[in-house]
């Protein structure tokens, strides 16, 4: 009987540990079990990322519709090539959509906001968004104010 209650407590202890790990994984780090089949990849080129990082949000009208999966430099055009993974449920983004880098709040993290255009065709796996707006660069903005242009 004594041994049984000890076994029960140890089992509970291990279970609490696993539950806490699950909380850390899913609630704290936002790990999702969604595999690659639930998303599709779309690319966009920006002149200036201004602090956008991988794992950043991609949103439309404030709703998260995907995440930035990879960022690298396009050596030919000297621009930043951003790879985004969008949820497959959002499959009606037009090919002339506009991707803009915006800031959450005044000092918050950078994210990509997508606005749809009027085209008939929709973006599919591997397509590129051509119409992009780079991040608002506060130093440049202040600089242009200071020089009066």
């Amino acid at each position: 009987m004594y041994n049984r209650s000890i076994e029960l407590m140890v089992g509970l202890f291990i279970a609490i540990g696993i539950a806490a790990l699950a909380v850390l994984a899913f609630q704290v780090s936002g790990l999702s079990l969604k595999s690659g089949s639930d998303t599709y990849k779309v690319y966009a080129q920006f002149d200036d990322l201004g602090g956008l990082t991988a794992r950043g949000k991609v949103s439309m009208a404030g709703v998260t519709i995907g995440k930035v999966s990879n960022i690298e430099l396009d050596k030919e055009s000297y621009t930043a090539l951003v790879e985004m993974e969008l949820y497959s449920s959002v499959d009606n983004l037009t090919t002339d959509s506009i991707a803009a880098i915006q800031t959450a709040g005044l000092l918050g993290e950078k994210y990509i906001s997508i606005n749809v255009g009027a085209d008939e065709e929709y973006l599919a796996e591997g397509d590129t968004i051509f119409d992009t707006q780079s991040a608002l660069n506060i130093e440049k903005l202040i600089g242009s104010f200071a020089s009066g242009k």
Partner: protein, 260 residues
């Protein structure tokens, strides 16, 4: 003059021999085919006394540390109007540093000292040598289950500590100070990465668990079999474990998080 050199040499040789003995001790108790049928009940009993009984102190201190982090972070961040970032601050601090380190220190104080005292007393009352007389290897019967219990429970305790601490931070930040809950979690999720932060934190706690348990069990096994010897060994356990945790934490942080 020569006497100083002689003392230096003697103390070096002494520390080296202790190091060698502790290495051999670890090797002898862990290497070999584990006897699962007879070993499991022993391991479960040790998991109970090392892990389950440490749960209360871990949960309570995790809760308070998370709450303090929430309060302090709010006071600083509110000046910059970015109190939503409190979630990511609390989570990163706990998962990367405070979770493993504070759990390691508490573990050394709560479980390590108990292990040392228990084994030291076993040695002083000659239970270990009578086991040897009966043909039972005390390393396998007494030491190995305690070592494994420490290795297993420490990461679990650290994970529980971090989770409870984050909950405490949320309690203070969201429920008391009124930070918007949505941005609390969203900021946290966008900045905490599972592989980089949480897994590295778990690796840290694995290392701390290994070192703390090793030190505790070895100090008990190597203690002078007198009441004074046991008290010295217990003190040594807590001091050495704490120093090892803090020192190793710097090394591990430098390897894991430094950008170079």
């Amino acid at each position: 003059m020569l006497g100083y050199f002689r003392k230096l040499g003697a103390s070096t040789m002494h520390s080296l021999s202790v190091l060698g003995r502790s290495g051999l001790f670890l090797w002898n108790s862990l290497v070999g085919i584990p006897d699962l049928r007879n070993g499991m009940p022993l391991l479960i009993k040790q998991l109970y006394s090392v892990g389950v009984l440490s749960l209360v102190i871990i949960v309570v201190s995790g809760l308070f540390i998370g709450m303090v982090l929430g309060l302090q972070g709010y006071n600083i961040l509110v000046d910059y109007g970015s109190e939503q970032a409190i979630g990511q601050m609390v989570a990163l601090t706990l998962v990367r540093e405070l979770g493993p380190v504070v759990t390691g220190l508490l573990f050394a104080g709560r479980a390590g000292s108990a292990l040392t005292a228990e084994i030291g007393l076993m040695k002083a009352t000659e239970q270990l040598s009578s086991m040897e007389m009966m043909g039972v290897d005390p390393l396998r019967r007494i030491i190995a289950p305690r070592l494994w219990a420490g290795f297993i429970s420490m990461p679990i305790l650290a994970i529980i500590f971090s989770a409870v601490g984050i909950w405490g931070g949320m309690l203070v930040g969201v429920d008391w100070l009124g930070v918007y809950e949505g941005s609390f979690w969203a900021n946290m999720q966008s900045s905490v990465s599972f592989e980089k932060d949480i897994l590295n934190g778990i690796i840290k706690s694995l290392v701390f668990g290994f070192v703390c348990t090793w030190i505790a069990v070895f100090q008990g096994y190597d203690s002078t079999p007198t009441s004074e010897g046991i008290s010295i060994a217990t003190t040594k356990t807590v001091v050495y474990s704490s120093l090892a945790v803090l020192g190793l934490d710097f090394v591990l942080t430098a390897v894991m998080f430094a950008a170079f």
